[in-house]
């Protein structure tokens, strides 16, 4: 609160960066990178989020307590998604047993 107001130029620069990153992530979506497409999209989204949090939400000038709370929140989110995904992404899905009686009768040649 006792901070000097952030110059307008800073906000405009961040906005231009956000638009450029939006154009970049859209462009990358049309290039086949295999699984890296998802990685690229999420990485760019995280960078955009950091720009918004640090500059628009002005977290970089917030008290240390606020910073710790925010980081703790995202750590918790990481636990939620990471531990949940650790099951479906690592489990070997064995096919279920085939039924004794098939619904379509097998025709013998």
């Amino acid at each position: 609160m006792s901070e000097e107001p952030v110059p307008v130029r800073t906000y405009l620069t961040i906005f231009a960066c956000l638009l450029a990153l939006t154009a970049l992530t859209t462009g990358v979506a049309f290039i086949d990178l295999g699984p890296l497409n998802t990685v690229a999209a999420l990485t760019i989204a995280v960078v955009k989020m950091l720009l918004v949090i640090l500059f628009f939400m002005n977290l970089r000038h917030s008290p240390r307590l606020t910073k710790v709370v925010v980081v703790a929140g995202f750590f918790w989110l990481l636990l939620l998604i990471g531990l949940t995904l650790s099951d479906p992404l690592t489990r070997h899905w064995t096919p279920g047993p085939s039924p004794w009686i098939t619904t379509t009768p097998q025709s013998q040649p």
Partner: protein, 227 residues
């Protein structure tokens, strides 16, 4: 510093401590919101990992042009909101009114594009699970290249699509209500005499809604194998 002359509630040492406590409280609320949307994102990730082709097919049914446009509109509204907070901080009432109004207009533009150019055509295409699910032949053809081909489990993608964009839109409607309050109360100069905490916390909320969209846009529109 001008802030030291501001009045503050008796449990705080000074106005600055009161301001920091208010923003910290807002952040704690936003963290509960992050966990709320985090549950949706987590569910999306789990089902996407199990039904990848269906999710990619569903993603390609969305019109990327409106996704990009709306991202730009929402980022612009975040810029005007940041400038509104700055105007309140520097005690410029007219600038505050202008920027809050601009933010509202951009927010309404986002909702308008979402509703009239995406959700209504979605309804006509019949891709609303449970309510109107008849994947129109031309929609299916657009995705699979084959007329009348069946898209197994694409409903799953659209359930997440409508819940996630719907909850996001609901948060924007709440944000518009908050900004109406800022306009009405700020008109009298209540936020431009040094005490601008309500503008600051409203700004935090609006930027949070922007961040949710920053993740929704790539997850719903972009990673569907459009190449």
């Amino acid at each position: 510093m001008a802030t030291t002359e501001l009045a503050h509630a008796h449990q705080f040492d000074d106005a600055e401590q009161q301001f920091d406590a208010a923003t910290l409280g807002m952040w704690v609320f936003l963290l509960t919101e992050i966990m709320f949307f985090g549950g949706l994102f987590c569910g999306y990730a789990v089902y996407r990992s199990q039904y990848l082709p269906s999710f990619e097919a569903g993603s390609r049914l969305l019109d990327i042009r409106f996704g990009v446009t709306n991202t730009a509109v929402l980022l612009a509204s975040s810029l005007t909101m940041a400038l509104a907070v700055r105007a309140a901080q520097t005690r410029r009432r007219n600038a505050l009114m202008t920027f809050v109004l601009l933010t509202m207009l951009l927010g309404i533009a986002f909702l308008g594009i979402k509703f009239f150019f995406e959700w209504i055509p979605d309804w006509k295409d019949g891709v609303v699970p449970g309510l109107h699910w008849v994947p129109a032949a031309e929609v299916v053809e657009r995705v699979t290249g084959r007329a009348g081909a069946v898209l197994p489990n694409v409903e799953l993608f659209f359930v997440f699509y409508f819940f996630m964009t719907g909850m996001h839109a609901l948060h924007m409607v709440v944000g518009l209500g908050i900004m109406t309050y800022l306009l009405l109360k700020g008109r009298t100069g209540a936020f431009t005499s040094g005490h601008f905490t309500p503008v600051e916390t409203s700004g935090l909320y609006w930027h949070f809604v922007d961040i949710v969209w920053i993740f929704l846009f790539p997850l719903l529109y972009l990673i569907g194998g459009r190449y």
